[in-house]
Amino acid sequence: MSTERLTVRKTYKLYIGGAFPRSESGRSYVINDGQGGFLANASRASRKDVRDGVTAARKAFPGWSARTPYNRGQILYRVAEMLEGRRAQFVAELRDTGLGKNAATEEVDEAIDRWVWYAGWADKLAAVLGSANPVAGPFFNLSTPEPTGVVGVIAPDSPLLGLVSVIAPAIISGNTCVVVASEPAPLPAITLAEVLATSDLPGGVVNLLTGHRAELAPWLASHLDVNALDLAGASADLTVECERAAAENLKRVLRPAESDWTADPGLTRMKAFLETKTIWHPIGL
């Protein structure tokens, strides 16, 4: 007599400081597949989880931003290698969200290639965005890009390509981030977290929260230890609310724009989370 094997299901938790805790609130919400059938319960993060994420991101910032750009590029490339290894899993998860096989495969491939593209930028940004400034005096004068700090990211609904397209540009330059994943399709984000956790990316560089955007985003936007906000996945109303809250400590805000995530991303998202530092020194004997 043979019995059908019972599947071992995954518990989808949050990703904070390199660990996978449940929401401290003990809450979860139901994630359905494309047909409306039950897929999983995802953690429904709370204000406290946001704050824990920011603490972890702040703690990780000095170390991550002090890595050599070469090292950051290597780690991000390693992430792409791990993504490639889990290609089939991501395709399956995207199909669960309602995508057809070809569309799901294309999105996964595009996401991996996007990640590789950003990985290569680590040691090129300063050359492209910096400058040696010809000032009218005996001074050495150099401008270089530096990471802004902790970036709060409201990820778009494109569950994998959109997600990697907002995370990679934030962290490649040395920022750390707290990400609120797509509300209806958060499961690929947690699988991505599993990839990040096994790719030499230091804990805390990326912190992933699942839950209700309208509940979480304002806490990120008003948190005084967050330096910048990417509102890619925020609705119009939520954008206004977050932008107002962000004014309190003058966060850099990247407003949502019509986004075709398959299009060439350009430098916009990386530039949005960079500061320019200019160093002067006299020249003389």
Binding site: V128, S131, N133, P134, V135, A136, G137, F139, N141, S143, T148, G149, N227, A236, T239, V240, E243, R244, A246, A247, E248, N249, L250, R252, T268, E275, T276, K277, T278, I279, W280, H281, P282
Partner: protein, 472 residues
């Protein structure tokens, strides 16, 4: 101490009219309401200027829009460039007049307005003139935003105007600019310079007024871009007011810069740098080195030399060519400096100022240093915007960086050491938009300027300064 005979710069070169209108669409138009601007060194009224209300702000924005759509936007970059070159040249030609007027209206020493402000103003226009037909090579696209609403402070009235108008015009935008309430006069002469240069009407509009005029401007629906230099508090309000709009925003706000002196610093140069860092322009500088962090082994010696040097600073008539420290710009600002200095004493810091005679009329504050300051003291945390230095000490380089970065601001920082690797080590770790190593308060149109954190965002100057005015 040497005795100096008075050496006043002649003010005959300046002809101040009793009243000025608003400069809208190439014409001076009388405003419905007016305000007075005074000489802060004598408290005499210099002139009456317009105070633009809603209708006048609207007229100015409309004029700028029309000029953008019909003339300035479509104009080839090389033609725009030539207008900017013309303006730069006329500024050079009229530089003494502008310098004297700046000192009269602002209170800054003529030595600074003549040798720092005015040369930089002309250089800024000259620099951005050259970009106008080279935007395709700058990396930020070539499409202007439209109409820029710009609000500037009173500490460097004409220089801040140049920082705002030159890049905006070079990139094909038109502007409505509001100078500060207490220092409108050089901006109004600039309006005349625009006419002398035959700049098409509406490309530059100058509307004078107080805070309410600025608020009307930045919240006007007809502008595409807001550029503000001023206090962090007003910066926050502006950031809130543009939330939910498509307006682009750059802010250059306050600071509380650390000037870090290591024990191997060239002390004579460092003392000059400390003095320049905090007493330049009466300390009314957003990037002023207002927190001196000095390494313990040299702290006593640095302070002794600093006090000796401070005793030679000459406070008084801004138009006297020997004056080092002029008048504080307004009674309001003077009160703020006094209040915070009193708080410094109440909180336990030790106050010292050299003996100096201050004129009876006008707004004056002697160069002042506070020692025994802790990081928790308000004078170590808040921007005083006056000639008041707070001195803290440190033992290790790591401690210096931690203290230097322990601020919500991040506009500038200074570092003094003879050791190259230590300079670069510190410069890398200081979280500030401008790091002056073995120098302080140097500026150049080719060099980007702007802050981290609550010192604002965006850069002015250099190739980076174009970004704020282009669609990309």
């Amino acid at each position: 101490m040497f005795e100096y005979a008075p050496a006043p710069e002649s003010r005959d070169i300046v002809h101040i009219r009793p009243s000025y209108g608003l400069f809208i669409d190439g014409e001076f138009t009388d405003a419905k309401e007016t305000i007075k601007t005074i000489d802060p060194a004598t408290e005499e009224v210099l002139a009456e200027v317009g105070s633009a209300g809603p209708e006048e702000v609207d007229l100015a924005v409309r004029a700028a829009r029309t000029a953008f759509e019909t003339v300035w936007g479509p104009m080839p970059g090389r033609e725009r460039a030539k207008y900017l070159y013309r303006i730069a040249r006329i500024i050079q030609e009229r530089s003494r007049e502008l310098a004297v007027l700046e000192s009269l209206d602002n209170g800054k020493p003529i030595r600074e307005s003549r040798d720092v402000d005015l040369p930089l103003v002309a250089a800024h226009f000259f620099y951005y003139a050259g970009w106008a037909d080279k935007l395709a090579h700058a990396g930020y696209g070539t499409k202007p935003l439209g109409v820029a609403g710009q609000v500037i402070p009173w500490n460097f009235p004409l220089l801040m105007l140049a920082w705002k108008i030159a890049p905006a015009l070079a990139t094909g935008n038109t502007v409505v600019l509001k100078p500060a309430e207490t220092t409108p006069l050089t901006a109004l002469v600039f309006a005349d310079i625009c006419r002398q240069a035959d700049l098409p009407p509406g490309v530059v509009n100058i509307i004078t007024g107080a805070g309410e005029t600025g608020r009307l401007l930045v919240s006007h629906d007809g502008i595409d871009k807001v550029a503000f230099t001023g206090s962090t508090e007003v910066g926050r309000q502006i950031a809130r007011s543009v939330a939910g709009t498509s307006k682009r925003l750059t802010l250059e706000l306050g600071g509380k810069a650390a000037n870090v002196v290591f024990d191997d610093a060239p002390l004579d140069q460092a003392v000059e740098g400390i003095v320049n860092g905090i007493f330049f322009n009466q300390g009314q500088v957003c990037c002023a080195g207002s927190r001196l962090l000095v390494q313990e082994p040299v702290a006593e010696e640095v302070l002794a030399r600093l006090r000796t040097r401070m005793a030679t600073l000459r406070v008084g008539d801004p138009l006297d060519k020997n004056t080092d420290i002029g008048a504080i710009n307004s009674a309001v600002q003077l009160q703020r400096i006094r209040d915070l200095s009193e708080v410094g004493e109440q909180e336990g810091a030790e106050r010292w100022a050299p003996p100096c005679e201050l004129p009876e009329k006008g707004f004056w504050f002697p160069p002042t240093v506070f020692t025994g300051v802790s990081q928790a003291h308000r004078i170590a945390r808040e921007e005083i915007f006056g000639p008041v230095l707070s001195v803290l000490t440190f033992r290790t380089p790591e401690e210096a960086i931690e203290k230097a970065n322990n601020t919500p601001y991040g506009l500038s920082a200074g570092v003094w050491s003879e050791k190259g690797s230590r300079i670069l080590w510190a410069a890398q770790r200081l979280r500030a938009g401008v790091v002056w190593a073995n120098t302080f308060n140097t500026f150049d149109p080719a060099s980007p300027f702007g802050g981290y954190q609550e010192s604002g965002f965006g850069r002015e100057g250099g190739r980076h300064g174009l970004e704020a005015y282009l669609e990309h």
